[in-house]
């Protein structure tokens, strides 16, 4: 029985000290981690939206259960952005951030995360591919060439570009709902 208590005692001491260490390390790093995570979002907004000096992640309205982020330059609306997660990718969900100008035409697109095949489907993150969407509005047909659209699919990968196209299309519909309001 004595050795049983000794074991319990030892493990208790070790886990409690590990817990204290983790609490300390968490309190030292949490601000920096939050800052980095926020910075990543703000950088993404900078790359896909026209010039703005507000913080779009805090400036949003909800349309059809989707957050529409609004970019403003000294209070004048310069663009909108929507983050849509399309689950039709080859490797699962693709998170797409679509930015438009104030009239709802695509200004820039960023892929926040994806799990497409390296070397094939992951070309959806290439700038040359994402630039193909520029200028599209909700009235355009946004689809890969195989589906009768204008977006170039890659050899060996149609599913990933198709998922992105669908995501952009959905985003534009949401943004259009916002502009029409």
């Amino acid at each position: 029985m004595n050795s049983f208590f000794k074991s319990v005692f030892t493990i208790t001491i070790i886990t409690v000290s590990a817990g204290i260490m983790l609490a300390l390390s968490y309190s030292f790093t949490k601000d920096k981690i939050a800052y980095q995570e926020r910075q990543e979002i703000l950088n993404a907004f900078k790359s896909i939206l026209p010039y703005h000096n507000n913080e779009p992640d805090k400036d949003y309205e909800i349309i059809n259960n989707q957050k529409v982020f609004v970019a403003k330059d000294n209070g004048t609306i310069t663009g909108y952005a929507v983050n849509i997660i399309n689950t039709q990718g080859y490797g699962g969900a693709i998170s797409i951030l679509t930015g438009t100008d104030s009239k709802g035409a695509v200004y820039g697109i960023a892929i926040i995360y994806h799990s497409e095949t390296p070397g094939l489907g992951d070309k959806i993150t290439n700038k040359s591919f994402l630039d193909l969407f520029q200028g599209f509005t909700v009235n355009d047909k946004i689809a890969v060439k195989k589906d009768g659209g204008t977006i170039e699919q890659f050899s060996g990968a149609t599913i990933s570009p198709r998922a992105v196209a669908a995501g952009v299309k959905d985003s534009l519909t949401v943004i259009n709902g916002m502009i029409g309001k």
């Binding site: 050795s3 493990i11 590990a18 790093t29 070397g119």
Partner: protein
């Protein structure tokens, strides 16, 4: 003693090439030189820390609960490293993702704790952790470099091949990891047999 520990960790008893431990992260994250280096260094940091702490307290831990005790200590180090990487190397942390927390179950770390740190002095354990970790990092780095150069035509994201070079995609895909690791094993065997032959 110290010389033997270093030589064992770096080469003659290398975690990957000789003991073939920790192959899961080895195969999974060596798609590029940067990822391989990041993973290797994170593991080295955990290994050094856990080896030191375990060698300090091993004699106070009853034998029947030593494995859970070691795992708690290792998990504590891994979580601290995970948080520090997230705070300071955010983009690298994002790429390595789930494989950082999985260092907890990397059998190299528990293996060194059980086979070395629990039986040796803190100083020796520290040196052992460092050399095994660096040996692991070097192995990962070689594999990652080959895979990146051949599979993507780049090295540390800088193009190193002629523009006409058509990357051999399979090198950065999962099957490529097995193939290249096999070639590296064969290469190591070849060098070893040459050294033996000369003696």
């Amino acid at each position: 003693m110290v010389k033997n520990i270093i030589k064992d960790g770096l080469y003659s008893n290398n975690a990957i090439f000789k003991q073939m431990l920790g192959l899961c992260p080895t195969l999974a994250v060596t798609t590029s030189a940067v990822n391989a280096l990041g993973m290797g260094l994170a593991t080295t940091a955990v290994l050094t820390g856990s080896n030191l702490v375990i060698s300090l307290i091993a004699r106070y831990i009853p034998k029947n609960v030593r494995i859970p005790a070691y795992i708690v200590i290792i998990a504590c180090f891994v979580t601290i490293i995970d948080q520090m990487m997230k705070a300071n190397f955010y983009s690298l942390h994002k790429v390595l993702g789930i494989f950082i927390p999985l260092i907890v179950v990397n059998c190299i770390v528990l293996g060194r704790a059980e086979a070395f740190a629990s039986k040796n002095t803190p100083l020796y354990s520290l040196i052992d952790g460092l050399s095994v970790g660096i040996g692991f990092t070097i192995a990962l780095f070689i594999l990652g470099s080959f895979r990146e150069i051949i599979g993507a035509g780049t090295f540390f994201n800088i193009s190193v091949m002629l523009s006409s070079y058509n990357p051999l995609l399979i090198a950065v895909m999962p099957p490529g990891a097995f193939l290249f690791l096999g070639f590296l094993f064969a290469g190591k065997q070849f060098i070893d047999s040459r050294i033996k032959g000369e003696k």
